[in-house]
Symmetry: C2
């Protein structure tokens, strides 16, 4: 028996002797040092040879047997059955080409979500980055989390059905009844890991391959991606200062942001709301109303959602806590017509048979029920109003040559139309970058080219940063004039 196992190195690597032997033998088999048909030494022999217990050797043989590397023939011994090394290297182990489904191919051919690069040192960013975390009621949130996770270990075993935590669904229904005038019961609320999951799942449930689907242009590219992944055909809905312009679209599904059009900020007029509802009724269609950030409304009470005017059950209302709480909290929801509750729950269950994020769901329910959410919204609305007004006045003072602002009364960004040529816009974007200031070219949100515009997020910027940012933008423009 001339088998030489480099057992010492295996014994160093692995804590248990039987595992070290197992690996030493297995590698010898896989590398061809113990070819198929060769007989393994007896357990006694190997135990003596390496000064280990016979039990350990036997255990490693059992493992090889269980995995089929060896075969035991009663009265004869243990024989290698594995055919030896397969040609190939570890490099190859991750390298085969794999053909995607047509869903996958559609997905890969579409506009990709941009992940903003880490900020450069000293950069001022007007990208839409969400909230100033320094104003977040962190202590209250921590208490809520501790409450949610802290009722003793038993709670960990509780799993939430796919539609999510019942208490939070109740709290959301209550919040929407009061602040939005939607007559909604908790049973019509389904929670998602962010509103985008809801939009993607709703698209799958509603959109057939080749089916025309109306989306706003400009609009949120995530919605277009979801529709296109299903094979839906995008029908552009034009947008003006009163929001989406109704038409007699030959379609059955419409996505719209009536309370605050994304990204222009336009509020859909009541007349148009009613026209759109009538259209949906005529088409026996369905409207997905995406209410992404209108909770922060300082020009009076929040605009009433389309859902509150919907008497037929053709509107699905989608909301989110990512902007009102913090971006890392992935919690969105849909208010569903009865006709869709069961299928949406079933579709959600396909991906999440148990609702994820239960800890945060419960914490948020606690946070809402105890009034922290309402207080937080009220406070942030004041802060955002001040920031909005400040940025408007800074931009009016210093950049009215180049941008015409669409002043809003809600939301977390300002939409501004570019006043110069397309060539100058390109040059300005470069100049701004070189001045270390970032903003979002709104053409990213367009399906077909339209008037040039930009979005300026202000939620996360304090006064000093806004002054500096606008100053840099103005200087960038001046640079270009020379």
């Amino acid at each position: 028996m001339e088998l030489s196992l480099p057992l010492d190195s295996y014994l160093e690597e692995y804590r248990y002797k039987y595992i070290a032997i197992y690996y030493a033998l297995r590698d010898a088999i896989l590398e061809g040092r113990l070819p198929s048909g060769s007989k393994l030494p007896s357990t006694r022999y190997l135990a003596n040879l390496y000064n280990i217990s016979r039990g350990s050797v036997a255990q490693s043989y059992d493992m090889l047997l269980a995995e089929g590397y060896v075969q035991m023939i009663v009265g004869k011994g243990t024989f290698v059955t594995h055919a030896g090394p397969t040609p190939g290297t570890e490099e190859q182990a991750f390298s085969a080409d794999i053909t995607l489904s047509s869903w996958g191919q559609r997905l890969m051919s579409q506009y990709r979500t941009h992940y903003d690069k880490p900020k450069l040192k000293g950069e001022i960013s007007f990208l839409l980055e969400g909230m100033p975390i320094e104003y977040f009621p962190y202590d209250e949130w921590r208490s809520a989390l501790a409450y949610a996770g802290g009722k003793g270990g038993g709670d960990l075993a509780v799993v939430a059905r796919p539609e999510g935590d019942a208490e939070l669904r109740e709290a959301i229904a209550g919040h929407l009844r009061i602040t939005r005038g939607i007559a909604v019961e908790a049973s019509n609320v389904v929670l998602f890991s962010g509103s985008m999951q809801g939009i993607a799942i709703l698209s799958q449930l509603l959109v057939n391959e080749g089916e025309p689907v109306v989306v706003e242009d400009p609009g949120y590219h995530g919605i277009r991606n979801a529709v296109q992944a299903c094979g839906g055909t995008i029908v552009r809905g034009d947008v003006d200062a009163e929001g989406l312009i109704p038409e007699e679209w030959n379609a059955r599904v419409l996505f719209v942001t009536p309370s605050r059009q994304f990204p222009t900020g336009a509020v859909l007029s009541l007349d148009r709301r009613r026209q759109i509802l009538k259209w949906a009724q005529k088409q026996e269609g369905v409207i997905i109303e995406d209410d992404y950030d209108s909770e922060f409304r300082w020009g009076g009470r929040p605009i009433e959602p389309l859902k509150a005017l919907d008497l037929e059950g053709r509107v699905i209302y989608v909301g989110s806590f990512s902007k009102t709480m913090f971006a890392g909290l992935r919690l969105g929801y849909a208010i569903l017509p009865n006709a869709l509750v069961e299928s949406v729950v079933q579709a959600k269950a396909l991906y999440d048979p148990i609702s994820p994020g239960l800890l945060e769901q419960r914490a948020l329910a606690y946070f809402m029920i105890h009034g922290h959410y309402k207080r937080h919204l009220r406070r942030m609305t004041r802060i955002y109003r001040m920031r909005h007004d400040r940025l408007c006045s800074l931009m009016s003072d210093h950049m009215s040559d180049i941008f015409c602002l669409i002043k809003g009364d809600a939301g977390l960004h300002i939409y501004a139309n570019w006043q110069r040529s397309a060539e100058e816009y390109e040059a300005f974007k470069v100049a701004a970058k070189s001045r270390n200031v970032e903003f979002r070219d709104a053409s990213a949100y367009r399906i077909i080219p339209g008037p040039l515009a930009a979005c300026f997020g202000f939620a996360h910027l304090d006064d000093e940063q806004m002054v500096e940012g606008v100053n840099r933008l103005a200087t960038a423009w001046q640079d270009m004039q020379q």
Copy 2:
């Protein structure tokens, strides 16, 4: 001006006067008491009439104007433009029929996920309920959560890319290199909200409508649901005591549970592993290896996954923490061939542009890095081995007439073949229920009828409960004999 607003009740309901007025007027318009064309009273008149400030009235008029209920004609006044009540009641608001896409229709026609009813009082349940939470290292998990969520508020603003927290992906790669022998880098790890999300998304990326897909029979119905929702055609793969029986399937995609077949517990022999890998190579296909609960292996070291033998990059390995940690922690992952990383991330981003559950992801990374996870697995493996052996011996002693146990060396349930007639099985299930003891009829996992069998989950049951449960089952059988 004879307009009568029931303003007192509105003032009671709403905190701000302008909002109360807004709603009073709006309701009057919507209910037809202020018909289209009628002129609103002047702000001064209304202010005097109700003894409120003129500013409040003006603000409420602005809101009505913004929403299009009224129109202001300069020099003439403010006029109602809304057409009045729409026929219909609130009941109807959720009642329209909405046609589902073919994806939705396929989804709704398939086997539904069962959500176990709440336990009856005194019931003993052998359903597959996961772990005994009393053994969970709750203090360590709480510390990990506090660490993850507690580095000051700034962390709340951090969002994770769709593939999930980098530290956890690194920790998983390290864990799999050591315990599974998979040569994996963090860049090939994508996190999901549970392994089912991964399976559903992978199905969408790989399965075309009408495409044949091999799944094990018996097997996990969630996989079948995911394939069927994509329109895939299920190809049955038979299973025996060595796991899935390889065939020259005319297909490109295969789902398999090699380490511990679900639900039979069979370990796929090495020979078959290699056959299946060869098949995938020949078909230029892809294998999705679902390793759902083999971490708890007491018969030696964990069986090596198919992925460790995969030299071509045709195997996707899917794992989960729901069984090793607790069911409410929705955290799964896939180890992807290079060819699929980008498309899986893009698909995940369609649903979750920002990874949900970041708090728990970070907590788990901390928990793993600090050795708590390994210690927990080791401890639970001992406990599960004892429980498994105890349940086996109880059932052998008291139920060998009716069930033939397939003893395992891993996992959290025992698979047992029914030894009597189909009629007797039906009667036995009823008798067991009336004795207040639950178990899972394994025919729920079958595509076509096969040998009758049952699954008995033991993870959550202590000795006393197992004794009582087996006693009830045996008594139920005795009941039937009389």
